[in-house]
Amino acid sequence: MTDAVEEYEAVVVGCGPGGAAAAATLARNGVETLVLERGVDAGSKNVSGGLIYAEESAPYTIDGLFPGFREEATERPVTENIIHNIAGDKVKSFDIGGLHHHDTAWADAVLRRKMDSWLAQQVHERTRETGGGLLTEVHVTGLLRERGEIVGVTTEELDPIKADMVVAADGVNSELARDAGLMDWEEPEEWFQGVKAVVDMEPELINARFDVAPDDGTAHLFSGDLFDGVRGGGFLYTNESSLSIGTVFHLDSIAEERAEPHELLDSLLTHPLMAQWLGDEYDEREYSAKLVPDSKKAAHPSPHKDRLVLVGDAAGQMQAQGPIIKGMNHAVTAGALAAEAFADARARDDPSQAGDLYEKKLNDEGVMDKLRPTGYRVFGQLGELGPVDDLSNAIADSAVGRFGVRAAAGLLERAYSSPRLVSMIPDTKLPYVTLPTVIAEELGEPVTDENTVSPPDLADRIGDLTYDVGDPHIELVDKSFEASGTAVTACPVSAEDFGGGCYRDEMVQTNGSEEHLVSLDTQPCVECGTCAIVADTEWEHPAGGKGVEFNQG
């Protein structure tokens, strides 16, 4: 019957790659560490494309922290990476092996449920030895403060907990980062939205269709005119007995074009180019979606406050290196660096220095340079200025531009493979839509295969997901279409004229006038985070163990 507040040396919130790396490193340093994860199982809430990279230049890699990781938790190693420029049925493919292999020790395809739950098991065993451990089904709701200073966390399921360090590894919609005032959920420009289908396929078929050995895999990326002008692209990665096929688009572009994310995914799935790989039988295991921060704009330069440090997506540390997406590896590095910083600070008898030390390590180890490259700050943002963008589009699309594309085919392929050049790419139509389209039109060959895939409709996709519904976790604050209408299309499980999703719009008669209103039902929510940004909501995650449960991820 003791009412004393519980205390741990460190509390880690979230057990994705960032939280797992932080917890393992804390435990290795003998720090009493409690890990709190809201899913029924680590990984049950998580989605990635999933190519996890181990960079040669990184101070920490996931297999370094967790020996056996590649044998136990990943799918296939990916040794080849091809980007396809698409215009109608014309396709020009470039090998971007240069970019893929640059600074890469290895890269494996992963499915997050399998990966994260394996990591969580390791994390629990190691942190348990320190007197802490990992608990699932605990939703951390915010920061515990004493005299205005952060001293711990509050949760829905447990009494408040104090700690000398709080690691917010709670992913893209970090409630802790928001509570601390370090991140906001305002600007769609700072985010991508990823949508993915995991497609069942026999290993032998994968080997044959992709021409890979049983223990080898491949990556294909897609850009061009197949996404209705929405800025972004598609991906396909080979798993052991499934394919991960998805799309990642700039959220502002999805919002502006009023695009339906599931339809954009379907545009990829049904393109003739995919026929050779998908064959006639299409069996979708799972549909999923999640926001992805864009480090170029969102990575916090000083991701800490009082005893709180942010790592991974929570700190915006998700790098889009041209078409290649690197979030998991940076989360791992940041998590381990934050832990290292705490161990150093504790050794100096001043745990409160941990945040500053962490920031210093992020800079010294070159992590911040990757997340916010100077080249982008100089050239990329310039390219995003309206007039420059219009001009570049016009040139690329002009006779001169087209001639240039034809003349410089080899050069272009090399350019796509240059880590330095792709880091400068502006977030405009030019690199995502115009250039790939022109390349395909000028250099591409038509694909003649017939694609017979008919992907499941949204109702079936929602129906196949597992939900343990709790109380509604999102509240629609402004119901007007003007304020929140974008969510009707941008929500990956809602669509115009579809009644079974989260968001719907309707014309309502009030006192003679007609109002265009939006309504929300969180039952089919996949907790992607989109409407936290594009609609006027009070957005929280559901209670521990409640809400959607991904089996693939």
Binding site: R128, L158, I161
Partner: protein, 284 residues
Amino acid sequence: MHTVVMTKGVPDFREGQVSFDEDGHLERGKTPTVMNPNDKHALRAAFQTKVRNGGHVSLMSMGPPGYKEVLQEGMRDVYADDLYLLSDREMGAADTWATAMTVATGLQNLDEQPDLVFAGFKTADGETGHTGPQTCWCLDWPIITHVLSLDIDEDAGTVRAKRLVDGDISEIETVEAPMPCFIVADPEFEPTYRKASHRLNHKDLREETQERAEEYEDHLTVWDHEDLNLDPDYIGLDGSPTIVSGVDPIPKAPSEREATMIEADEREALEPVLDELTPYAAGD
């Protein structure tokens, strides 16, 4: 803390498990025996004391040798530490009184006197709800029934409980009793773990007992009436004052009875209904 939970094996009444013959009699041979569902609530309450206050949880049952598997279930699913079965022919056909006598003697025969003994609210078959309180009467302990939640103060040697007054959810009271104490857990009992350390303990202990459940017989003690020094005249059928004068089958649920459909707008068709009802209206 040493807690003991009393349990009984009952037919598994769940859909797909239970089997009835044409006359609606339970077919015991075809229906598996499982741990009485209410006893699981009691065991969860006992496990909570172990998670929060340490110690161990024993599970005790009087019944045929087949109950061993019921006890194993208690270890595997609800994490009991050790198991006691009181079993022999002399104990057979006991009513609640004789059962209580036997179980109370079993409890007194333990090496370590329990601090708390838990019983379920009632069984899924006998349904009397007498056995717990009668066992307590034999022990001459304080009893708290309809318990919803528990807090133990080991230093003071007391237990504080929230309980339903008259079994009614609309009225809840908090009572305190010295230990040892007898607890009847209400089916609404919900263990709560608001401390991270409790949940971590829970996880460890759960894994530990689940592993042990594979070799549950190593943790099982079987006592017959001689081990307990019980006079056969006071237990089993001979010790049961209850006389079963007869057993009537329960009438079928209304929806399953035969019904005559009458269209309400036909006046004539309604005549027989009126004839049927009139005597009741007259008070006959």
